[in-house]
């Protein structure tokens, strides 16, 4: 298992080098190459690991914090089917994105380019660490590290106030979820004393286990942008597009799903939790899709689409079908990263995100258009591409729950519609703003997209190998629930809805048979609600202002002028007593002599009294 150490620690070495050696970091391109080389090493060893993998579970563990009254907190790494596949996905997408960034970030000054790649190396290491973690505490550690990296990368262009604010929003919301995660860990630690996966899986169902896993799920909701904690993902698009591709499409947001899949052996004992996960997954999928309908910014469309797909995966987990969830995560990583990179290439050329300012890019950016199309088709779930297989498995798995299933079905249509709305708006029709002169992106950007496109296309066929490796690590058949009574018509209905979605988008935006603006005007109140993202952002803002700022003002004022006021008053009073006593010393001899007489009288009173 030597390869395993390489996968994990190559990015760490690159991060350490870049962080500790300012010269290298500030040099720009060389820093980029160090990071890319490290990710390449990590990718190759991940591939080697994938092929050498013999189905066993290899674990290494050492004590991180010694404790006597409780089992010591350990840190270690677990290499099994699930982590190997996930590592492969992460390494591959990371490599693609870092190569792509060479082109996309070309006009960045060297120092900040170096900073960019430093953050990237740290992120890759943390993500891989999360993948290979062998206990909940370690998962929490890398979980937060990944959150911090996302904060740093979203706020990479710190001179943009909106980017800084978005980074904060992302960090705070995920942090809110992490509070639940920590509480979950605490419950498990308090009741069972240990946090490592193998011991957790051996537990029989109990209320404590339910609470613990509920806490973990809240953490997953934060990270995987489940409703209502999804508000940070659309704003996270302020970061550079490669970052969005890597973090907010393929890896970090999928961490929540990955963790739920990892904990499936324990989750199966908590049906009520799974039921909740299913429902929230379905609702998230549907709502995100509706919000994507009215989005003008191409990246935000993809962001909502990611939230929606994450909803799908969580629904699959809720339906106890970890295999479906993981396989969709596997395929989604490729085609969503591809879509983001393609969008990046368009933005790179047009220097704007607004789809309504683009148009007719098919000719000048031929390759980008083809790649974007492949991604869109895969996302819409068209048969030969991977999207079809993974989405189908999820629909099958969730068939037993009527309402969520219905929501997911409608979302298939909506997904297809908003994806092709974006496609037609961007690539077909005449260019909407004349002075822009789009040109095809450089090769260094196209190659990574090409690789992803190929993977997006063929990934569907690796379903069986993925499931088989997953079953090893989970210890039970990961696809079991949907198999027996899945009605045959589900895949066809999904396909039909997908095609319908594409058709309507084509009519609306390519051929302009019906005017979407008029539809928008007709349903104005509904559209406005969608545009305002169901006012959830405003609710959180209100919560932040009422919950924190007003209380802070009250506490600050009370502390500065009441508690401190009392202290100052006491000091001032002591001074005044001193001044008052001074008045007795008016210097007149007769009054001074009074002191003797008074003293005598007191002593005399003592003498006679006692």
């Amino acid at each position: 298992m030597k390869a395993f150490y390489l996968v994990l620690f190559a990015p760490f070495v690159s991060f350490a080098l870049l962080a500790l050696w300012p010269g290298l970091r500030r040099s720009g391109k060389p820093a980029a190459w160090t990071s890319i080389a490290a990710v390449a090493v990590s990718l190759l060893s991940a591939i080697a690991l994938f092929f050498q993998y013999d189905g066993g579970v290899h674990e290494v563990r050492w004590v991180w914090i010694p404790l006597a009254h409780f089992p010591s907190l350990t840190v270690g790494f677990l290499v099994d089917g699930l982590s190997v596949v996930m590592a492969l996905v992460v390494a591959l997408v990371a490599f693609a994105v870092q190569v792509y960034s060479l082109g996309y970030m070309s006009e960045e000054p060297p120092a900040s380019l170096g900073r960019y790649y430093t953050y990237h190396s740290l992120f890759t290491f943390s993500m891989l660490g999360l993948v290979f973690a062998n206990n909940l505490l370690e998962a929490y550690i890398f979980w937060e590290l990944v959150g911090a990296c996302s904060y740093l990368l979203i706020g990479f262009w710190f001179y943009k106030p909106s980017a800084a604010r978005a980074a904060l929003k992302a960090f705070w919301t995920t942090r809110l979820g992490d509070v639940g995660f920590a509480l979950g860990i605490a419950v498990l630690f308090a009741h069972f004393g240990f946090l490592s996966y193998d011991k957790l899986f051996a537990l029989e169902p109990s209320h404590a286990l339910f609470l613990g896993l509920l806490g973990v799920y809240v953490g997953a909701m934060g990270k995987s942008a489940q409703f209502p904690l999804h508000i940070w993902l659309p704003d996270a698009m302020e970061g550079p597009t490669p970052v969005s591709a890597l973090i907010h499409a393929a890896t970090m947001v999928a961490a929540g799903v990955f963790l739920m899949v990892r904990l499936m052996p324990a989750l199966q004992h908590t049906p009520e939790l799974l039921h909740l996960v299913l429902w929230i997954g379905a609702i998230t999928a549907f709502l995100a899709a509706t919000m994507a309908l009215v989005e003008r910014d191409i990246k935000r469309v993809l962001a909502f689409s990611t939230i929606s797909q994450l909803g799908y995966m969580m629904a699959a987990v809720g339906a106890l079908s970890a295999g479906a969830a993981f396989f969709h995560l596997f395929t989604h990583a490729f085609f969503k990263a591809l879509l983001f990179l393609a969008a990046g290439s368009v933005i790179h050329a047009m220097h704007t995100n607004d789809m309504f300012a683009m148009g007719g890019l098919a000719r000048p950016m031929r390759w980008t258009m083809i790649l974007f199309l492949v991604g869109a088709l895969a996302l819409a779930g068209m048969p030969p591409l991977s999207g079809y297989f993974s989405k189908d498995e999820i629909l099958v798995a969730t068939a037993h729950a009527p309402v969520p299933f219905a929501l997911l079905m409608i979302t298939v249509f909506l997904t297809a519609f908003y994806m092709f709305r974006a496609f037609f708006l961007t690539f077909t029709g005449e260019p909407r703003n004349p002075e822009s002169h789009p040109h095809e992106s450089p090769v260094v950007m196209l190659w990574p997209m090409g690789v992803l496109a190929i993977l997006a296309a063929v990934a569907g066929f690796f379903g069986s190998t993925v499931h088989e490796m997953l079953n090893h690590s989970l210890g039970f058949e990961s696809l079991h629930s949907g198999e027996e009574h899945h009605p045959a018509w589900i895949p066809y209905l999904g396909l039909g809805l997908g095609l319908l979605g594409i058709l309507v988008a084509w009519m609306g935006y390519a051929r302009r048979i019906f005017r979407p603006e008029r539809v928008y005007a007709a349903f104005y109140p509904l559209a406005k609600v969608l545009e305002e993202r169901y006012f959830i952002d405003h609710i959180f803002l209100l919560l932040y202002w009422l919950g924190y700022n007003t209380v802070a003002t009250v506490v600050g004022f009370v502390d500065r002028y009441i508690v401190d006021g009392v202290v100052n008053f006491v000091t001032w009073a002591t001074f005044e007593v001193g001044k008052a006593l001074r008045r007795f010393h008016n210097g007149v001899v007769q009054d001074i002599l009074l002191g003797v007489v008074v003293g005598f009288l007191i002593l005399a009173f003592f003498a006679t009294g006692f």
């Binding site: 002591t574 001074f575 007593v577 001193g578 001044k579 006593l581 001074r582 007795f584 010393h585 210097g587 001899v589 001074i592 002599l593 002191g595 003797v596 008074v598 003293g599 005598f600 007191i602 002593l603 005399a604 003592f606 003498a607 006679t608 006692f610």
Partner: protein, 462 residues
């Protein structure tokens, strides 16, 4: 005939005579130096004086330690006087000043070793009367005369009370033909009450301290330095003997409660009044009152440790308080007014003086690694051992108030940058040397306190 036990007294008497002759022959400055030298010889002679009694004057370790404090104070004051006299053009009266100081010293030493009430009263008066006169020697300052007058009036009235009190006490324990129990029951509390009035004045206890600030402000500073230590030490240490050998054996245990009450009041009033002061000598006067409050706490413990601790306390107080006053004298000799504004930025003008002054302030404030820290703590520890928790807690809290005004002075000297007044010239080297020497003792003593504490405890039979 163990006259040897009175060696220091004979030496002081000899010095007195010599100083008088030198002054008579028209050289007042040398008279002052002769007095200082004689005092020093007497101080050194203490090492060889054996215990013993002669002519009704008994000398034991406790007395010798106390006499050492008195002599030390006198020598320090006398050494610092010549430059002060020269600066204030009082040199023609230097001889008289020295004589009066020696008389007071003699009074104090005798008071320490006296065994009967008659001699006690007279020695007590010998301790005060020359000081009234000495306080008025600076003929150029009308305030000096006013201060001396107040000092005299306050002293006379309280010695009237004292006379009556001593009279009553002679009936309680003196060698009288007739001393029935009933008489003793009546006279003991009354006598003690009146006695405390007299001692209260001498020691500047509350409420008999009203004279102190005015006299300290107006009298010549070296004299004030002596005045702020020697009479107080003599008063407290002999009061302790009286309590131990007369009052407590006679059964008036509530006496300790009186002392404790007086201690608490003195501490509170002394500290609070020192807060708003801007004149250094007045501030040190009130701080002196506060310090007497702390010693009274040890006295209220009524134990041998208490006595030992108060001996140690006065040794430390000798250096820190006199050092502070000599520092003020040096400031005055620089032509600056002895107020906070005068001292502003002293650090710039003469760092040695400023740093020594800081050492004294810290010692008075009770900051660690300076002698004053140990003395204050041991005094409170003695009180704690006797269970006087209220005093301990009150004292510790008042130390906070005390430190405010001490640090305030330090702030004016060290932190305030610009000089408010323009000094006429550098302080005379002799005085600065004395001040730095005292500061050295205070700082180094702080590192090795046991050198002083153990002999003090032994002396008090602790």
């Amino acid at each position: 005939m163990q006259t040897a036990s009175l060696l220091p007294v004979w030496l002081v008497l000899a010095t007195l005579g010599l100083t008088f002759l030198v002054d008579l022959s028209g050289r007042p400055r040398t008279a002052l130096r002769v007095a200082a030298l004689g005092g020093l010889v007497a101080l050194l002679s203490l090492i060889w004086t054996p215990d013993g009694a002669f002519l009704g004057l008994s000398v034991d370790a406790y007395v010798r330690f106390a006499q050492a404090v008195l002599l030390g104070a006198a020598v320090l004051a006398l050494l610092a006087s010549p430059p002060y006299m020269r600066h204030f053009r009082m040199e023609r009266l230097a001889g008289d000043y020295a004589l009066l100081l020696l008389f007071t010293l003699l009074g104090g030493m005798l008071l320490m070793s006296v065994r009967d009430w008659l001699a006690l009263f007279v020695a007590f008066e010998l301790l005060s009367i020359p000081l009234y006169a000495a306080a008025a020697l600076n003929k150029r300052s009308p305030e000096g005369a006013e201060g001396a007058l107040k000092f005299f009036l306050f002293g006379s009235v309280s010695s009237a009370f004292l006379l009556l009190g001593v009279g009553m006490m002679t009936l309680v324990s003196g060698s009288t033909a007739f001393s029935s129990v009933v008489v003793r029951e009546a006279f003991l509390p009354a006598g003690l009450a009146l006695l405390l009035v007299g001692f209260g004045f001498k020691v500047a206890m509350f409420p008999f301290y009203f004279w102190a600030p005015d006299v300290y402000e107006s009298a010549p500073t070296p004299l004030v330095a002596f005045l702020s230590v020697a009479p107080k030490a003599a008063g407290i240490l002999i009061l302790f003997r009286i309590l131990q050998e007369v009052v407590l054996p006679a059964g008036l245990s509530s006496a300790l409660a009186w002392v404790a009450f007086a201690s608490a009041l003195t501490m509170v009033v002394g500290n609070l009044l020192a807060l708003p002061q801007t004149h250094l000598k007045r501030l040190l006067a009130y701080s002196g009152v506060a310090h007497i409050g702390y010693v009274l706490a040890a006295l209220a413990a009524g134990t041998a440790e208490g006595a030992g601790m108060s001996l140690f306390y006065f040794t430390v107080y000798l250096f820190s308080n006199m050092g502070a006053f000599l520092g003020v004298a040096a400031v005055e000799m620089m032509g600056l007014s002895p107020t906070l504004e005068g001292v502003a930025g002293l650090y710039r003008r003469s760092p040695a003086l400023a740093m020594s002054f800081l050492a004294f302030l810290l010692s008075l404030g009770g900051i660690p690694f300076v002698l004053g820290f140990w003395s204050k703590l041991f005094v409170f520890f003695a009180a704690a051992q006797a269970g006087l928790w209220v005093l301990v807690f009150l004292g510790a809290l008042l130390a906070v108030v005390a430190l405010f005004y001490y640090l305030n002075v330090a702030r004016w000297m060290l932190i305030v940058e610009e000089m408010q007044e323009e000094p006429a010239g550098p302080p005379p080297a002799a005085v600065v040397a004395l001040v730095v020497m005292a500061a050295f003792v205070v700082v180094v003593g702080g590192l090795v306190p046991q050198v002083l504490v153990q002999p003090a405890l032994l002396a008090a039979g602790g």
